[in-house]
């Protein structure tokens, strides 16, 4: 039985309808997530339109939604064999000038020194779990629990693109000028989103966005 679950990692995935054309897939482990993403790219179900990753789930959108049982059957057919050969994703190094306005307050709130906060923020390898809030904005998994803080009670009206920030259990980087409630640590000159490259009907996301869901990155402190 255990062997069977390994070969068919999607058997325990929960399906819930969302709206008239969507299904949310819950209870995804990493194997199931990878397997489904790959199958959607290679042999998607009929009338499939697009998918959107969430922190714990995945939304599938359809032009014409299949019956729940047809989607269940599609998922149950996906075999896990290939997922054992996980491709090693390249880890992007993101240079950060740590001069953000909330560094001091975060140090105070966590009982750490500013240097320790920076050391803890630059230590882990982060994974882009999902993107959203604005085009190109990555929600990064891997933030040290010592830096898990509630969002600011009064959000800022305007945050510049390139602002490196933390919010809740995620680290992130602001991708367009926008209001926002995350704690600002510093800034990077990495350009996350280039709208001018999105003109026409573009094919390659890599030309437009610095990051994609699933990517790995590390922050590196540099002088301003």
């Amino acid at each position: 039985m255990v062997e069977k679950l390994k070969d068919f990692p999607c058997m325990n995935v929960r399906i819930r309808p969302y709206g008239e054309r969507g299904y949310l897939l819950d209870a995804l482990n990493d194997d199931a997530r990878l397997l489904i993403e790959r199958a959607l790219a290679l042999e998607p179900p009929t009338a499939y339109e697009e998918s959107v990753p969430g922190a714990d789930n995945l939304l599938l959108l359809f032009v014409r939604p299949p019956d729940l049982s047809a989607l269940r059957a599609w998922l149950d057919r996906l075999e896990g064999g290939a997922s054992k050969r996980k491709p090693r994703t390249h880890c992007l190094e993101v240079p950060v000038v740590y001069d953000g306005p909330d560094l001091k307050a975060v140090a105070q709130a966590t009982g750490l020194s500013e240097a320790e906060v920076i050391a803890i923020h630059t230590a882990p390898e982060y994974r882009v779990r999902l993107m959203g809030f604005a085009p190109g904005f990555p929600y990064l998994d891997g933030l040290d629990p010592r830096l898990h803080l509630d969002r600011k009670t009064s959000p800022r009206d305007r945050i510049e693109p390139g602002a490196v920030a933390i919010g809740g259990s995620h680290a992130g980087i602001y991708s367009v000028a926008s209001p926002g409630g995350w704690h600002l640590f510093g800034r990077t000159d990495l350009v996350l989103f280039q709208p001018e490259k999105a003109k026409g009907t573009p094919g390659d996301p890599r030309a437009i966005f610095a990051l994609a869901p699933g990517d790995l990155l590390k922050f590196k402190q540099v002088e301003g």
Binding site: R16, P17, Y18, G19, E20, R21, G22, L24, E49, E50, S51, V52, P53, G54, A55, D56, N57, L59, L61, L130, M131, G132, F133, A134, P135, G136, F137, Y139, G168, H170, S175, V176, S178, F193, P195, A198, K199, G200, T201, P202, P205, I208, F209, A212, P213
Partner: protein, 286 residues
């Protein structure tokens, strides 16, 4: 050919089509006309593709000069233009179309033969200023149509009217149909009942990203981990007042979602002016 000159933009003017698909996973909202069915009706009147770019006119104040003899179709909000909504008319060069008062609805759609020629971002001509897709239309700007004349045969016809049963009267009080949202189970029975028993008022703090509703304060469950959000979703933040996500709204969010509007009803809600009273009922699914 150059077909329309903008004499005044009024409250808001932009080029829109049915929006973009395939880019939500990168955080790009679907966008598109706020009332897609009216935009489609305007195109249908001229025999255009349903997704041809149209001019979206918000409330009153816009003034447009016709530069060539052509056809123009109007649908959606009634903004007091001499040409009635839900009609297509032959217009002569030099005609000025004015939209002086907001009689019903919020968004009017103006179509020209073949649609407007427009730049595209992520495959769509829909302008999304918040996300840097496109530039605002300015006074003096000249817009170009793809074709000179409608693709329909309109010999000796000066006017077309949309079938009456396809026209919408946005001054009529509406009860919209809801599907349960992904976090329906997290809300109290009382909150679920209040959503459909109360009358809600469309707040003035509504825009292309979301329509806010004012009414009884709903009991709010814990925030959830960030997950995908579809247009039409009723997100309930800490103050217990639902925000209905619109087409330009964020693609992910961390507020629990109590309900989702049917897509056709979202078009109609988008036409409800601030102060409009609306009510809801659960769709008959069970």
């Amino acid at each position: 050919m150059e077909i329309i000159e903008i004499l005044s933009t009024g409250v808001g003017l932009s080029i829109q089509d049915r929006g973009r698909s395939g880019w939500r996973r990168f955080g790009v909202p679907p966008g598109g006309s706020m009332d897609r069915s009216s935009a489609q009706a305007a195109n249908q009147l001229l025999g255009n593709r349903p997704d041809a770019p149209v001019l979206e006119i918000l409330m009153q104040g816009a003034k447009l000069r016709i530069l060539e003899d052509t056809w123009v179709a109007l649908a959606g909000a009634d903004l007091g233009c001499e040409q009635a909504p839900w009609t297509a008319c032959a217009v002569t060069a030099g005609t000025v179309l004015e939209f002086p008062i907001n009689r019903s609805g919020l968004w009017a759609y103006l179509a020209v033969p073949g649609g407007f020629y427009a730049d595209r971002w992520f495959g769509s001509a829909s302008v999304d200023l918040r996300n840097g897709l496109g530039v605002p239309l300015q006074q003096g700007r000249r817009l170009t149509s793809v074709a000179g004349a409608p693709s329909l045969s309109l010999d000796r016809v000066g006017r077309r009217v949309l079938a009456l049963d396809q026209q919408r009267d946005f001054s009529k009080p509406m009860q919209f149909e809801l599907l349960p949202g992904p976090q329906f189970d997290l809300f109290t029975t009382e909150a679920r009942d209040q959503l459909v028993s109360a009358r809600w008022t469309v707040s003035a703090r509504s825009d292309r990203t979301g329509f806010r509703l004012q009414g009884p304060e709903l009991a709010v469950p814990e925030s959830i981990r960030s997950e995908p959000v579809l247009p039409g979703s009723f997100q309930v933040p800490g103050n217990g007042q639902p925000i209905v996500t619109m087409g330009d709204g964020p693609t992910v969010g961390g507020y629990a979602k109590l309900a989702v509007l049917r897509e056709a009803d979202l078009d109609w809600l988008a036409q409800c002016r601030p102060g409009t009273k609306v009510s809801f009922k659960w769709a008959d699914l069970f």
